[in-house]
Amino acid sequence: MVKEAAVPSTGQTWTQPGMDGIGNVAVKCPKCKEILYGRDWEKNLRVCSRCDFHFKLTAYARIELLVDRGSFVELDADIISIDPLNFVSRSQPYTAKLGEEQNTTNLHEAVVSGHATIEKKPLALAVMDFRFIGGSMGSVVGEKITRTIELGIERRIPVLIVSASGGARMQEGLYSLMQMVKTSAALAKLGEAKIPYFSLLTDPTVGGVTASFATLGDVIIAEPGALVGFAGPRVIEGFMHTKLPEGVVSSEFALQHGMIDTVIHRRDLRYELGRLLNLYF
């Protein structure tokens, strides 16, 4: 009942820089193979109107979806990755890879962070973008997420982190692994300050991100059908030398095994987050 009342949210139309032109093209749902018309598909928040498959969102589209219109203030946008190991690659130097990703995604890194309001409630938030080297976590992702948590502590506002990541970034070696500690340690301080942290898992969230901040939420939410787990299905299959059944290592699987609190449809996320903010803070 309560849920339905809020579905129309703000009714804003969705135009997103970088998505221009999509309105005129069609996309095929990878799950049910339905052909979806760009404009309808976008209006439906990039969810398949036939089978509810949730397509990936860019970080900025995600922010627009979640927060009150015009409330988002981006911070630390100018932090960029360097190549701390002089990573010797067989294929492409890391810095070249970074440049290429920056050009194709129009992002500086795999996370966008700042503060905003949801249903008028202020919060600090960091949103990952899978397009940028698979949403992998290196120094910059760790730093921006840590700063977001510290902003929560400083201003005494709740923290929301939206994950979309294939794991730690190989090209920064142990620096990447240590970001798991850095972010978790900041969350431990946030916890000591008794400020709530909400973790939203989107497709896909695996590896080092899941084994650190993503699973440390006071409330852990996932979008339907997202790949959510410690290891992705390919890794599990390789390790076990067996084929996994369809749909295993998903939001629903995680919910069933008690690893997350709830699975929420994209159209309801803003409203439900607003409710949680009200209940916790």
């Binding site: 981006e74 190991l85 120094s139 978790s184 650190s212 699973t215 599990i236």
Partner: protein, 328 residues
């Protein structure tokens, strides 16, 4: 112990000739005795030379050597007493993690170790040192206990990684690791972590959030195993040696980068050549760091630990980029 690693080939011939002479025992002629002394010196000098310049991939081979001392060996050689405790009180007991209270040079500590297993039977029993969530939860339980009783925590790390099987997903492998990072970041007792062989990714990290991260001289610590990284980066595990070099996973390189706090010297030719000496070296380093950490007040200890991890990472700033986005 014969030299058996690929890069030790130059030493094998020399060692053979030496052994031939040594077998003569008392029947050695005077000039042969001199010759033998020369050979011994040369072997020592050549071994030093090789081990001083190990590549990352060569270090991987030493770190994974079948005769390398494992955690259980160190426990036996280091501790006055060790009482192993079992179980996570949730699901089961993970044999890849050995843990319990111990005494080290008269000091009470809590030991948490990863044990790979020596022979086939033990390897299977220990799951090759590959932990399930229960291993991390046992560690979690005993770290909380260490805090309760004011015992410093010492972790010996030796794992290729956390188990990524379906049962581990079902029992929350990711959460088990994350919960340890969260706990250890603020645990109110000193924590020492020593990578004794392989520090494999999140599976190693889960018991490595420490005031001092130390590594044996020829051990490795990596965001992913060289094989996994090669597969992720170049879709071919045969490029593992290149991945090992690129990720700079050897203890020496990590120390040079300032990512770890200290090296534990290994006996000449690797820890596997002299377990006792390796343990003696480790003990000395542990006691030194324990003594230093005990000097700190609790606030100092926790603040230093926080700063230590807070400052790990390297980044730059974009200048005058047209990519800066306006607020949505």
């Amino acid at each position: 112990m014969p030299y058996d690693l690929e890069f030790e080939k130059p030493l094998v011939e020399l060692e053979k000739k030496m052994h031939a002479l040594q077998r003569k025992g008392d029947h050695l002629k005077a000039d042969e005795r001199v010759q033998l002394q020369h050979m011994e010196r040369e072997l020592r000098w050549r071994t030093e030379e090789i081990y001083k310049n190990l590549t990352s991939w060569q270090t991987v081979q030493v770190a994974r050597h079948k005769d390398r001392p494992y955690a259980a060996d160190y426990i036996r050689l280091l501790c006055d007493d060790f009482f192993e405790l079992h179980g996570d009180r949730v699901f089961g007991d993970d044999h890849a993690v050995m843990a319990g209270p111990a005494k080290l040079d008269g000091q009470k500590v809590m030991l948490i170790c990863q044990q790979k297993g020596r022979d086939t039977k033990e390897k299977v029993f220990r799951n090759f040192g590959i932990s399930h969530p229960e291993g991390y939860r046992k560690a979690h339980r005993l770290m909380q206990q260490a805090e309760k009783f004011g015992l410093p925590v010492i972790c010996l790390i030796d794992t290729s990684g956390a188990s990524p099987a379906l049962e581990d997903e079902e029992r929350g492998q990711a959460e088990a690791i994350a919960a340890n990072l969260y706990l250890m970041a603020r645990l109110q007792v000193p924590i020492l972590a020593v990578v004794i062989g392989e520090g494999g990714s999140g599976g190693a990290l889960a018991i490595s959030v420490a005031d001092r991260i130390l590594m044996l001289e020829h051990s490795i610590y990596a965001v992913a195993s060289p094989e996994a990284a090669a597969s992720i980066l170049w879709r071919d595990t045969s490029f593992a040696p290149q991945a090992a070099e690129a990720m700079r996973i050897s203890a020496r390189e990590l120390h040079r980068l300032g990512l770890i706090d200290g090296l534990v010297p290994e006996p000449l030719g690797g820890a596997h050549r002299n377990h006792r000496l390796a343990a003696t070296n480790l003990k000395a380093v542990l006691l030194k760091h324990l003594a230093e950490l005990k000097q700190l007040s609790l606030d100092e200890l926790l603040e230093k630990r926080y700063r230590k991890f807070r400052t790990i990472g390297k980044h730059g700033k974009s200048v005058g980029s047209n990519m800066l986005r306006a607020n949505t």
